[in-house]
Symmetry: C2
Subunit: 234 residues, 2 copies
């Protein structure tokens, strides 16, 4: 029997194991891509995210799942990689007011740079990333103008770009609210019990419910008229 | 006695331990910067480069020297990170003709992304990189238009950029020939016996003399009327 070659286009999907990136993976699969999932162990405190990313990649039939260690913890400068306290119970107005301490310098740039390198090696034409400008405008590297500048740089950096095989950066959640993201994911059959969003979970993996990420997530489920299936601490 | 604060501007210097980046470090020091040297163990075969980088950072009084492991070896796609044979004895015309197999997908983008993150954390306003367009035009991520695109992206990616503290990418060797680089370095007192350029050294660290990098280096010393002080295999 002759083996058929899978001619579906390839995409590198940045997969943190959170609600947004899991929804993005479902979108990429629904669009027919062979998905090469890329996750990072960058010294973040929530290693539980990586476990969820592994389960999610298997569930969605990823062609490959690569977990890279990026040494961001040795650069420091963020509450996600050092021992700075994660803020709790902030209002949505407070979240919008300034760049939060959970901002990791260079994080999306490093993620996208590794994705760009891997895309070139496997021959992927797209990178999918779950950034979102509406619900969370505090991170400079989540804005459309940033992603456009990255794509422009990437197509000057690579052999593929120079030879005219342009790489696209796809951020399908960019203009969506958390409510809309959840509704889209549910429509695509996403099992959100596999996802993890909390910046400061308990040792058993249960979410804190009070950090910015938990609060935005809970608000999204409430607005969608759904119950968040993950476990929260009392 | 009151401790005086060092108010010299800070720069992150990408330091491979090669001839070019060592010259760049000397230039940054001569311009009065506090130098934060950044090196990478990215699965490259020539770990000897890193030993030279360590010695060089100490010799030039770097404020800090950080060696990061970047996991590029797990992405693959290059003769520098996998077991593809390094080409030997190619003419300079052959070198110019195409993107060589020693091209590492995403290498400079990853190096600059880590440098950008570290610059933000330490408050550096410049990144120095030893890329050079004239002697070696085969790498897409060594061109001025690439560096300009990276700087534009970086200033959209970071808190510093958003707040108006613009980061500059400095490539002082960009328009120089290898001969001119060596002459500049000698004028600044660079000890080139500490540098390493060979893509395929012997186990004892001696250079092969035949790879593209050795050939360009030897040509530069010859044109400058100098003898290369590093050891070559017979």
């Amino acid at each position: 029997m002759k083996e058929e070659k899978n001619v579906a286009p390839k995409a590198v999907v940045l997969l943190s194991g959170g609600l947004d990136s899991t929804t993005v993976l479902a979108i990429a699969k629904a669009e027919g891509y062979q998905c090469y999932c890329l996750s990072f162990a960058y010294g973040q405190r929530q290693e539980v995210e990586l476990e969820r990313a592994r389960a999610t990649a298997i569930r969605y039939g990823a062609s490959e799942h690569l977990v890279l260690r990026g040494d961001l913890d040795r650069i420091g400068g963020s509450a996600l990689t050092t021992e700075v306290a994660v803020p709790k119970g902030r209002s949505f107005v407070e979240m919008d007011a300034e760049i939060p301490v959970t901002y990791v310098p260079g994080r999306n740039t490093l993620f996208l740079s590794y994705a760009m390198a891997w895309a070139e090696v496997v021959g992927a034409t797209e990178i999918f990333i779950g950034v979102n400008a509406l619900d969370y405008s505090g991170y400079p590297d989540c804005r459309p103008e940033y992603l456009e500048a990255f794509a422009k740089m990437a197509n000057l950096a690579t052999k593929a770009g120079v030879e005219g095989r342009k790489l696209q950066i796809r951020a399908p959640l960019m203009e969506m609210t958390k409510k809309e993201i959840i509704q889209q994911g549910v429509a695509l059959g996403v099992d959100y019990s596999l996802t993890h969003s909390c910046y400061d979970p308990a040792a058993d993996g249960r979410a804190c419910g009070g950090c910015d990420s938990c609060r935005l997530r809970l608000k999204g489920f409430a607005e969608a008229g759904l119950t968040d299936p993950v476990l929260y601490q009392d």
